[in-house]
Assembly symmetry: D2
Homo-oligomer: 330 residues x 4
Amino acid sequence: MFNIALFGCGRIGKVHAVNIAAHPKTQIKAVIDPYTEGAQQLASQYGAEVMSVEQAMSDPDIHAVCICSATDTHADLIEQAAKAGKAIFCEKPIDLSLARVKACLSVVEESGVKMLVGFNRRYDPQFRTLKELFESGAIGKAETLVITSRDPSPPPADYVKVSGGIFRDMSIHDLDMARYIMGEDPVSVSAHGACLVDPAIGEAGDIDNAVIVLNFPSGAMATIINSRRSGYGYDQRIELHGSKGMLKAGNVREHLVEHWGEENCAAAKPQHFFLERYKEAYISEWQHFVDVLEGKTEPMCSGIDGEMALVLAEAALDSLNSHKAVGVSE
Amino acid sequence: MFNIALFGCGRIGKVHAVNIAAHPKTQIKAVIDPYTEGAQQLASQYGAEVMSVEQAMSDPDIHAVCICSATDTHADLIEQAAKAGKAIFCEKPIDLSLARVKACLSVVEESGVKMLVGFNRRYDPQFRTLKELFESGAIGKAETLVITSRDPSPPPADYVKVSGGIFRDMSIHDLDMARYIMGEDPVSVSAHGACLVDPAIGEAGDIDNAVIVLNFPSGAMATIINSRRSGYGYDQRIELHGSKGMLKAGNVREHLVEHWGEENCAAAKPQHFFLERYKEAYISEWQHFVDVLEGKTEPMCSGIDGEMALVLAEAALDSLNSHKAVGVSE
Amino acid sequence: MFNIALFGCGRIGKVHAVNIAAHPKTQIKAVIDPYTEGAQQLASQYGAEVMSVEQAMSDPDIHAVCICSATDTHADLIEQAAKAGKAIFCEKPIDLSLARVKACLSVVEESGVKMLVGFNRRYDPQFRTLKELFESGAIGKAETLVITSRDPSPPPADYVKVSGGIFRDMSIHDLDMARYIMGEDPVSVSAHGACLVDPAIGEAGDIDNAVIVLNFPSGAMATIINSRRSGYGYDQRIELHGSKGMLKAGNVREHLVEHWGEENCAAAKPQHFFLERYKEAYISEWQHFVDVLEGKTEPMCSGIDGEMALVLAEAALDSLNSHKAVGVSE
Amino acid sequence: MFNIALFGCGRIGKVHAVNIAAHPKTQIKAVIDPYTEGAQQLASQYGAEVMSVEQAMSDPDIHAVCICSATDTHADLIEQAAKAGKAIFCEKPIDLSLARVKACLSVVEESGVKMLVGFNRRYDPQFRTLKELFESGAIGKAETLVITSRDPSPPPADYVKVSGGIFRDMSIHDLDMARYIMGEDPVSVSAHGACLVDPAIGEAGDIDNAVIVLNFPSGAMATIINSRRSGYGYDQRIELHGSKGMLKAGNVREHLVEHWGEENCAAAKPQHFFLERYKEAYISEWQHFVDVLEGKTEPMCSGIDGEMALVLAEAALDSLNSHKAVGVSE
């Protein structure tokens, strides 16, 4: 049984709490959150203790940390956990600053602890199946990838202000997926965007619609289409065109009942948002982390993946501002 | 160029008029209809003459008749055309009385003229493709057939009264399709029904919902599901289950544009009714009749098919009344 | 925490074992199975004890029984559990003999214990949604129900011999669904069938393809289409036509990735069989049983439902043999 | 009856020949093609005369020209027809050189003749429906447009060499569609591309995969995804995302029969190529031209549309070479 210290009791912290508790090989030993009431509640629900960061990091019974706290605390907590020899699961992003990420990752590397960065979509059964079919040769060599990723509705402008912008906050998932699916790193990034959904997002210096084009060394291209608002749920699709055909992962609908009536033939909308859409992915992600803890496998998404996604997000921002393709070199 | 005498200027007569005129090898020479104004209009539209039945039948320039008149005139017109040596295209049914059909068909047989009975669905490209895939062995041996056939909305009770009832009027198409798809004749028929849509239909002595089960000599079964009202357009589907899988012909939609919105993901309804749904089938049916006229092929749906469909419709009616399976023997 | 005695360690016993153990309010206290090795294994996996029937029934710490043993033991175990005052979850069927079922249920009634009969499909999220949409008035009054239920491949003839026949073994689920969806009991049953898949099934006195038509007091009709073999996975669909349109619950596919290639545009097959298709239904069913144990609700599927489904299955068998509609009266 | 002079007897010339002849208000009077055998054949098929360019242009009985000849003859023929006072239908493009196009259009303008440029997709019933639903307000204000346009297989390198390159030859259709759907002209164009399908295309100085991003004055963006090879037929899709949802025009399949079997659930591929996919569009386009000839309407796609599409194609080429967004100003 692995004892886990859970940092952060917000929406995503609660998702992981359920999965940690439900897994036969993990349990929540400590809950850490500056919002003590929330921490207390979660702790009592799972038979865990509320601890301070220092207590948790120095508790020898704690094997691993699950970092779900505010973004600006991630890098510090990663470093402390690494130094304390604890395995690390950290929600994306590691940090919004690339320099900070690099510094943080060197601490992790020095420590030798295992670290898994939480890009949830890699564990989604649909996208997994697409990846596996591609790797089995179903469509030959990859040529064009199209990722559609649209949130149901925009976040509040206050969130936008601290989010690091759409590329670092939202597109970063798709940038990681592009690398994951294609199995290679892009050589250049071109980004386009506009503020169409909520003027407050524009006033906060951000955009809410984006199109990103990635060029890969093989000549293959990936296009990412993002919006902060779909109007019809969480739109999460991938199309991969290859030399012998296409693979296409569609949306997961709320249910499969169609209603045919006078107006039209209506099917259910896509599942509302990430909590529903990636529910299975979070479970599978945690299973993967347990496999890492047991030494059965290496993290399939480690610090370097977190860093590369951020590199691409920054290149996208450069491109958006310069109206040019921006080269990427590791 | 084959000269055609068109009997009947109603809805279905007009459908055939368009196709006769558009075909490079046929033209409308005569239009015959007791409603002279309609006959005159159609005739002038296509450069044809209005004729009496006698004139048309005795005109040596007329090669073939296209019978789209009222049901109770079909058998007489067929006999006259046969005796006049003209090839016959007749809309279903030949007659509502089986005895009359048999008598009529013996006249046709004696005359040696070619006759095509207008079961339009046999020419539908979707059902054709299903039939061809089945015959190519795609699903092995046929085991279960399910035909769904639902009109958009019920006919007026006045029509119902002279229609011969749902089995002779509506199910007859599906009974023919079952024979056509399966390639064998049923040995028994069981029918179930109710009046659910319009009480006036019940008062007219008819039902508006029916389920018919056919048993075939091979052991295979067919189920026909009929309703006089779908609420969402013309529902025309076929599922054929075989020893190695299923073939399934879905509805043809009004268009292929989906609208994803706050409420649902909406697709277009099935095409509204037979004029839209079987537009291509009617063209292809006429082409087949021209092939028959040219001696290139034999009618794929002749008098005996018209008779067999009626035999099955009558058996269905017997079964509905007796609550028993009714044996069919030719 | 409710302590559960689990009778039977076969395939379905294991499904329930997982769900009992995963539920925060239930645990397996006892495992009972004549196959002691299997019992021992399951018991040690869940920290339970292997017991004899008598031990389990007389153990005051056991609150409820979960009966997943061989069909011919169900009625006896139900009676013993009822007399011992234990709440009962029993897999379908209660018994293959209607007389035995009635006797058994009167013991249950006398005892006053709660009993839930395991018709898993009532808990399936897709069919639930269909039922809810129907009850919300989405399609008006029910007119025609079509249930398609096809197993991926036929069971061995040895199983068929003790199964009670396709109606009692397989169609019984669909008969229950028809009652559940329509919210009324049929007044007559007509059944048709053939042995098309495996001659050994015919030699065992059974059929492997069936079509059942139910007539309801409201005039509505239900058609059930069964086969012991689909060739493409577990085909589980429901169409409900009403006065204002149709609701249609489609199959759940293995995944949502399409492969478009030179041959065709391929989607995944339906989930293979009931373990996959009804995984969520089993969890939800157990949740319902826990709600019953807690007194929060009454069983949504009790002994009388088990009995009625069997009544309909027997009527189907009568109809198959007599080629007549068979009246049903409770 | 309008007499038409048809220039060019190749693949697309034959498509128009059928439609001109089938239309009740037009007939082919003259056929002009340097390949005299082909001209002779087509002429005799439709009861037309073979003429020289000069004969056709000076024949007072000819009301309009239909230009389907080699691209490099378009501008000259347009000018001659304009000077001869004949209405003009010209297949895209007007010319591969923007300067030539401008010169040509000024001749047309001076002459006052009507001219329709053949961007067939504007007449496709699916895309029309999408456009109409959008204009009816179904999804609010347009935000993102995604056009997928993939040919089944690449053209021979010899064709590529004279094609003007993928942007002028293939993407030009999508660039026109983007303008048509959005109802505004882009302000900048960014293009990305690679040669992935056939190295001979690269050696001919062209690419075979392209992604083009257009920015519109409203802030809206359009993404065009092109490939010279799909591997599964002609992939023609449009997604339009707006402030209140999405409209999505899918592919038209070869047929609607699905085959569910051991391997998968297979649907038919998209219709193979433009002759099949846009068959109805070509008919509707010709109807529109007849409406123009009759003075009932103005050309919905005139010279300026042909010019603008070329302007965008050239901007795409600039962008591909410069790796920068290229501004567009009319």
